[in-house]
């Protein structure tokens, strides 16, 4: 088949390899920029509706009951949502800066912010 000529096969493989390397490099870049988070910011359509410290355990009902956020041992996770796929619940826990939980149906994001300022040493 003209579709399977050696040159094309090679170029296809190179392209696949390029994307694989690109994604792995990007994952490392993102991982290396993660710091310890101090609080989570909850936003709906980009508008902040609240922020909660990661150092305090708690259970928060967000956005008029559409999602329930649980903070425990310095990490946050979504424990309930009113959408059918519940992807935000499956996303698990977040604790490092820039990590986020996204609920697309409710247009809600939970982002971990504030790194180093949480360890302020007062002399």
């Amino acid at each position: 088949m003209s579709d399977c000529s050696r040159g094309r096969l090679l170029r296809d493989a190179c392209l696949v390899l390029f994307f694989l390397v690109l994604s792995v490099v990007l994952i490392f870049v993102i991982r290396s920029r993660e710091g310890t988070g101090s609080k989570v910011v909850v936003a709906v359509e980009g508008v902040e509706i609240g922020s909660y410290p990661l150092s305090v355990d708690g259970r928060y009902v967000l956005n008029g009951g559409s999602n329930v956020l649980c903070i425990e041992d310095g990490s946050a996770r979504m424990v309930d949502a009113n959408c059918p796929d519940k992807l935000c619940v499956k996303q698990g826990t977040v604790r490092y800066t820039n990590q986020c939980i996204t609920c697309l149906p409710n247009k809600l994001t939970v982002t971990v912010v504030g790194g180093d300022d949480s360890v302020e040493i007062v002399l």
Binding site: S2, S5, D12, V16, I30, N98, Q99, T102, P105
Partner: protein, 186 residues
């Protein structure tokens, strides 16, 4: 547009819808929104190679519209539409270069589809935090693209073989068709 083409495209759109339906039944196995195989893309890649760019675009966009109406929501329509448009653009352009095979074309399609969805999410959620998902979506788009590309080339090859046996055409004719890269009916 002749009758043959109308029926052919109707058939392909129906097939793509069935594949979308099957995919909608598979529960999300990864927590990141937007990760899936994209079975319906087999039909789009097939159409791109055997019918042409215009037909592939028509089939893909109609598929997205109908699938969102039947199994999705208005919001999912926006995400899929942006993804499909970007991925079609990339696939058509990459195929035009004639440098790559169907696997690369479908990989670029998969990655661009995810990129389009992330950009839509950035606009809808009015935030850039979703960029955090980008590497994972590039990775999943690549893997899905390889799977779809391999499946498509398998189907393309088999259908050509079946057609060859069916039409009793002489070797010369077939050679010509192969060189042109299309199998349009005379």
């Amino acid at each position: 547009m002749d009758t043959r083409k109308v029926s052919q495209m109707g058939l392909l759109i129906a097939l793509a819808l069935v594949l979308s339906y099957i995919e909608a039944q598979i529960p999300a196995f990864v927590a990141i929104p937007g990760i899936k195989v994209g079975l319906a893309n087999i039909v789009v890649v097939f159409a791109l190679y055997r019918l042409g760019a215009k037909e592939a675009v028509t089939i893909s966009l109609l598929r997205v519209l109908l699938a969102s109406l039947m199994f999705g929501s208005v919001l999912s329509l926006a995400y899929s539409f942006a993804g499909a448009l970007l991925s079609l653009l990339g696939m058509v352009l990459l195929k035009r270069t004639k440098l790559f095979g169907s696997v690369a074309v479908s990989v670029v399609g998969g990655v661009l589809h995810n990129l389009g969805q992330i950009l839509t999410a950035c606009i809808v959620l009015d935030t850039n935090v979703v960029v955090y998902y980008l590497p994972f979506l590039i990775l999943s788009g690549t893997i899905a693209g390889v799977v779809i590309g391999l499946l498509s080339s398998l189907i393309l090859n088999r259908l050509d073989y079946a057609r060859e046996k069916d039409s009793h055409c002489d070797g010369k004719h077939r050679e010509e068709d192969l060189n042109k890269g299309n199998f349009k009916e005379k």
